[in-house]
Symmetry: C3
Subunit: 158 residues, 3 copies
Amino acid sequence: MFKFAVLTVSDRCSKGEYEDKSGPAIMGIIKNINGEILRYDIVADAKELIKEKLVEYCDKLQADLVFTTGGTGLGPRDVTPDATVEVAQKTIPGISELIRSEGLKKTKNSALSRGISAIRGNTIIINLPGSPKAVKESLIAILDIIPHALDMLKGMGH
Amino acid sequence: MFKFAVLTVSDRCSKGEYEDKSGPAIMGIIKNINGEILRYDIVADAKELIKEKLVEYCDKLQADLVFTTGGTGLGPRDVTPDATVEVAQKTIPGISELIRSEGLKKTKNSALSRGISAIRGNTIIINLPGSPKAVKESLIAILDIIPHALDMLKGMGH
Amino acid sequence: MFKFAVLTVSDRCSKGEYEDKSGPAIMGIIKNINGEILRYDIVADAKELIKEKLVEYCDKLQADLVFTTGGTGLGPRDVTPDATVEVAQKTIPGISELIRSEGLKKTKNSALSRGISAIRGNTIIINLPGSPKAVKESLIAILDIIPHALDMLKGMGH
């Protein structure tokens, strides 16, 4: 059973002004595929806070896979991909290319999601878009390849 | 009304050996969508010259969107994406992925355009290919998403 | 006639535990298109060894195009793209996007190949996946554009 962590990045959700629907949407899908959820947090759109959580999930909790939601847009406070690249040791461009190309079949605005996918230590980090609808569509696009990705990461997939 | 700047990058056009048709092609399309053109320049394929113009358009003129044309190929003098990344604070990989994947429907050589899309301050910079034909096809591929992109950039799109 | 070098990156093949089938698969296709093969080596999945070979092919042998196979996955020893980016002066994202998007038509796991394409001096370096089957499919996807890419690189393609 793979271990997951979920990080919602949103100024408004972190202040409680808004109910987070995207984090729970991710967790619903993970539970359906029998994944264990180690941790779920909500942080503001602040690079240092995001980096701190990602490092904790990867290094301390040893999550297999971290999903973030939010902060992938073009606004001045949208810094999730930038935080991710700063903690990453490698990137996996094809996962985010696949999320965007599948997303384009629904809406051309999918091209504006700056999400990246990356590796830190024994953990894969995947940035998902912010809306619950886009989160679900993105997850569906990549769900099939996650078991193989995690097997490869552990050196068992070759 | 959004404010645009257009930069043609071409050794031959900058020396007047060749008439620039790509810059005017971009401006024709921008006018059709009711955009204001703040500035149009032609520079040689020299990284420092390109960077200087981009910084001026972003920081001084406060353009909403800068289109470059030319210098995205594989030649030793093709440095537009490299200049762009050096002045950028964030990249928007999906815009250039979309330009290339739409371009592939016309010609496989579209895969060889190294163009990137990026953000500096309050400005989006998008590298378009060099030929007037490829410029038009690229612009048509992304025109729909530009208003939303600019709204997001100004923090109004969420 | 274009000059090629082929680098197989694999711990097991470098120790002779496993016969390399991917390097020969690449060479078979190159010979069919009348290319000259300057060099073919097998190295372990070690970043410094890979970089050393790439630099030799580009700077000393003046290869037009280097194909690597292997080391593009998610395992801790998979470092071919990381070695490539460290010796590269420019990247060509569209070539690897094309390899992956064509690969997706066969298997979704194509999204997990982290391969990049890049330029060092007068040489293009393209990372291909590790399996002979994926190597052939990737090469077929990009073979058409290689002559134009090499002409552009030499400043003759404009």
